[in-house]
Amino acid sequence: MTTTDAADTRSYPVGRVRSAVTGLTLIVLAPLVITGAINLQQFQKVYRAKVENELRGMIERHSLIVDSFIDDRLSDVRVIAREHPLERLAEPPFLRRVLSLLREEYHGAFVDLGLVNSEGVQVAYAGPFNLEMADYSSAAWFDDAMANESFISDVFAGLRGSPHFIITTQRVVEGELYLLKATIDFEAFNALVENIRIGRTGFAFIINLNGEFQTNPHFEVALNRPPYIDVLDGGLRSDRITVIDGEDLLGRPSIFTFAPLKQGRWLLCYQQELADAMDEVRQMSRLAIAALLIVSVGALAISLVMSGKLAVRLAAADHERTVMTHQVIETGRLASIGELAAGIAHEINNPVAIMVQEAGWIDDLLQDPDPASDDNLAEIQRAVGQIRTQGDRCKEITYKLLSFARKTDPSVRQVVLNDAVDEVIGLTSQKTRYANVRIATELQPNLPPIQASPTEIQQVLLNLVNNAIDAIERPGGTVTVVTRAEGDAVLLEVRDTGKGIPEANLARIFDPFFTTKPVGQGTGLGLSICYGIVDKAGGSITVESEIEQGTTFTVSFPRSKPSDGPPAATANEREGQ
């Protein structure tokens, strides 16, 4: 295993695991967010209803207060008009006393008192202004006051030039009609309404049906815009409390409330920015969003950290597995070499024995009385030649063995199966010779190459051929190795005429450590390793067997595309390593 491989196996799952875990976290968080949003919306609706209810209650209460304030003042004036004889009411000192009494009682709500005759002339007056004998016959309120037993005017500037409104009540004495008129202090009345303030932006004011302000609004209001214009046009019912949404002068969404006063002749208006009215909801949603954010960020952070750890652990496991697989393959390969070793040792031992023998023979000859005789020299020359020949034989065998025993190289390149078959058959020739097995090959010329590790393919072949040779118990069997291209696949067949595999074992032959060989002779890893290697190369391995007839292993590799990898190293390159 190279460092690059290790780095690859580690970096590869980290990103994958992390994104998987993050995705999972988001999936878990999504319902939370959705539920939160729905809850918030629902809460907003409920709260909106609550706000509306409160507004209705508030405005109703205040309209009652205003109405009763006006009614009480009217009753006061009526009581005074009924209680006292007209002569007394016409005496300014008496009026002054009554006025001061009223002012004491009602904290200055009353400004002045006056008695007006049917011609509109104020015959008696008590108050801060000099209005005795003032003529009201042409005043806007005079006709109404004459027509009604009691009358409450709109707010107007009048003769004195400051806003006020008046209350009148009739008193008939001997067919003559008089009006007792009281002026209500605008400031006192205005304070009643102006003090209605809720939140930052809520304020109240009174208008009459002509669209004239009866009290000062705290903020600027345009009565020629909806919803006021709608109310004044009668588009909205003004005889009961109404709550509607709209926009204020600056276009901010606001909530408007209207309540009728004075039997519908005035309107108590209340206006508040929606955001202000729903401030609690806003704070609540802010809190909820903050909580959700904290939870989400926390969950994401935890999942990222955990996934990082998980990924590292997975990578470690992956790495371990790769190393393990590699070790298993390595072990299997060494086992295969072990099986070969007996044959190879003998093969090497034979030339060595010959060399020793020849050297001994030269020794013998040199001890002759006449070692330099022509015969002896020729014999010595022959012996030396023989030693050289046998030495070459040894070299060839060791190279063959080394080319296989060299550490496996898992790097993938183009492999031509035919070359691998030739190599492996060369390697097993000794074994087949002593086992009296004939090896036949049917190799398709110009076989397309496959993509695999050459050493691993060599191992697959060696395992299959070794097994095939072992399967043949009686002398004279044949192992046939076939290669051929079929469609997009390159097939390798190893066929033997051996004892066959019992059906009960067929399903298990690719299992690791399954072996039928005597203890110490087989690791049970050979076929399982073959399976792993072939699988890794994208191929498949199948087996057909008939008892006493033989077994055929068929390996199918995908044909390599021309663009894939470098061609296999030549035999010379390998020997050089």
Binding site: A353, I354, V356, Q357, A383, Q386, R433
Partner: protein, 146 residues
């Protein structure tokens, strides 16, 4: 010092040839065979009496060393056999000794050691033959009633 008569059996022709030359130089009567079957043929042809010791390679194609040993012991029980083995086949040599081989030698072997073992084996064989002859003589004299 007896002069043993030896048969060398090995599938390595070159090995056999040189060994034969060296043994011959030491006054040993040597013949050669390159397979188990050939060895049996030589023994059958020349008569077991003419061969004292067979030097037999354990690992040969066709009939291997152990099979050949069994055949020799069956057909020519008096002939002594020295097994010749490589490192990997010492077990076979031990097995061979259990089945009646005189001794074994590991390849490549020192010729002097081989000579010593050949002589011991030949002596043993000759003693065997002598004992058999004596036994026969005793038997004959018993029959004669001396």
């Amino acid at each position: 010092m007896i002069e043993p008569s030896v048969l060398v059996v090995d599938d390595e022709v070159q090995f056999v040839e040189t060994l034969v030359k060296r043994l011959a130089k030491r006054g040993v009567k040597v013949s050669a065979a390159h397979s188990g079957q050939q060895a049996l043929d030589v023994l059958a042809g020349s008569g077991a009496t003419r061969t004292d010791v067979v030097i037999l390679d354990v690992k040969m194609p066709g009939m291997d060393g152990l099979e050949t040993l069994a055949a020799i012991k069956e057909q020519h029980p008096l002939v002594e056999v020295i097994m010749l083995t490589g490192h990997a086949t010492v077990e076979s040599a031990i097995e061979g000794m259990k089945r009646g081989a005189f001794d074994y030698l590991m390849k490549p072997c020192d010729l002097e050691v081989l000579m010593a073992k050949l002589n011991q084996a030949a002596v043993k064989k000759r003693e065997h033959e002598t004992k058999i002859l004596e036994a026969r003589a005793t038997l004959i004299s018993l029959r004669r009633g001396d």
